[in-house]
């Protein structure tokens, strides 16, 4: 049942020009970043060769690529999640799902996984660029994998937050802007920590989406960071289920 809903979601995405436009734009921007970073590496290559333990190709090219990808997706994911539930509310198609013999969890997970399938496709295209460097150089594949997993986790949490906010409103644009606002706030949360006290800074730093991502980009695969994203995602999915249930029960 979840698969049926997910397949419909994915299909509808590709039937609209939005999905194709997003794929194209993201590839274009990331390709540019990739070329710039490659250029930087070429310039430094001679000097780096002399230093022991200097950053290699993967650190200089792949890590900034993933970091930029996360920021671009911070802008793009709200556009994809905004229509998930609020659009169904607006077009009055939600009763079809509500009156079908499926649970709210099925609906939320179906929609989430349908979108994640699309995002996974989008993400899979990104490491192809650094992997092309294998033709002429060597890469730290472990580091690349950690970065990719990090990006996947970050995007999974973006999508969960967006899905929840889409369930809250029946205006897709409101869902998009509030998702974007929430994600951006969580992204820059640790900036405030610099001026404040030690404890505040530690708490805010922990809450920030960015801190955990940076660790993964450095190749540090810490379960605490992974747990942060998993918990973040689960929390918003549960909230979305509860929101839909609340719709059916007392308003």
């Amino acid at each position: 049942m979840i698969a049926t809903i997910a397949a419909r979601e994915l299909r509808s995405l590709f039937l609209s020009p939005l999905a194709w436009a997003i794929l194209a734009v993201i590839q274009l921007i990331l390709a540019y970043i990739f070329l710039v970073q490659l250029d930087v590496f070429m310039q430094w290559q001679a000097r780096l060769a002399g230093i022991e333990g200097a950053p290699g190709l993967t650190e200089i090219v792949a890590a900034p690529l993933f970091r930029t990808a996360a920021i671009v997706l911070l802008l793009v994911v709200p556009l994809l999640t905004m229509r998930l539930i609020s659009e169904e509310r607006r077009a009055r198609t939600l009763p079809l799902l509500l009156s079908a013999p499926v649970s709210m969890t099925d609906i939320v997970l179906g929609k989430y996984l349908g979108l994640m399938a699309f995002l996974a496709l989008l993400l899979l295209l990104i490491p192809l660029m650094p992997l092309a460097l294998l033709a002429g150089g060597s890469l730290d594949l472990g580091l690349l994998a950690a970065g990719f997993v990090g990006l996947l986790l970050v995007v999974a949490s973006f999508a969960a937050a967006g899905l929840f906010l889409s369930a809250v409103t029946d205006q897709p644009t409101v869902a998009a802007i509030s998702t974007f606002g929430l994600l951006l706030l969580l992204w820059i949360l640790d900036w405030a920590g610099n001026g404040g006290g030690q404890e505040a800074s530690a708490v805010l730093g922990y809450l920030s989406l960015l801190t955990h991502y940076d660790a993964l980009l450095k190749g540090v695969f810490d379960t605490r960071d992974v747990a942060y994203y998993v918990l973040f995602t689960l929390t918003f999915l549960v909230l979305a289920v509860r929101r839909l249930d609340a719709d059916r029960l007392q308003p």
């Binding site: 039937l15 009763p95 799902l97």
Partner: protein, 322 residues
Amino acid sequence: MGDDILVRVDALERYFGDIAAVQGVSFEVRRGEVLGFLGPNGAGKSTTMQIIAGALAPSGGQVLVNGVDILDEPRAAKAQVGYLPEQPPLYRELTVDEYLRYSARLHRIPRDGVDRAVDRAKHRCGLADVGRRLTGNLSKGYQQRVGIAQAIIHAPAVVILDEPTVGLDPIQIREIRALIRELGGDHSVILSTHILPEVQSVCDRVLIIHEGRLVLNERVEDLALGLAEPALRVGLRRAPAVEALRRLPGVLRVAPGEDGRFFLAYREGEDPTDRLVADAVAGGWGLFELAPQRRTLEEVFVQLTCGEHPPLAGGIAAEDAA
């Protein structure tokens, strides 16, 4: 639970904030019965139907579909219900075939049975020619049919149709009514409508709901019998005293209307027409209009839902109330 009662609604309540949309509504629907839901806009028809379909949870009371409680076992209950909301829930970007296949899967039809179910539903709703068209590009009538096809695709025990004939042309309305009658054969159908003759022609039982309360629950046949006595509408240019009309054999009541018109209710089988015409000629009353009149469902509806202001058309009803 008797196996012929498919839907049992007991003391249903639903509040939106402080507003009671539905209060203490109870009724039953038997197998093969077509139930017509009447009521003014905002009376609680759609809310009740949404609750039975499982799209909305009741604030109080109980709904059993084929003996299964809609709150305790929502999945099992919903599987037996097909629901067409007020606006057909179509994904505009899908074709009719894709959409129906999706609804079939949503209603847990096994993968190898989907094509057959889609074909049957399309055939029943006259959609065979539009399978490859986008639902968003179809006319309102066809969209409505796709909505109905979606509601019957899993051959549910109960089909709930919220205003299924809105926006259709007269020929489509006839077809949809025929379809509803046909559905009534093996399913139970609950439908809401504003078109009163539709209820009389399609339904076995009528419910009238007003301000969230059930004000009438009767079989259409009984209703036709009980729909007051036969009556005549008489127009007289030089009308005699009301007593003169009152004394005609068989006449039960006389209610004066506008412009020299009178409404005469008479006992079944004692039609005073002949005597009235004779008297009118003899007395020079200036008879200019004479028409048989039966109280229609419309008058019953208006009387029940407009409370203290019975309209002029229900002249007899007005006297009853007085």
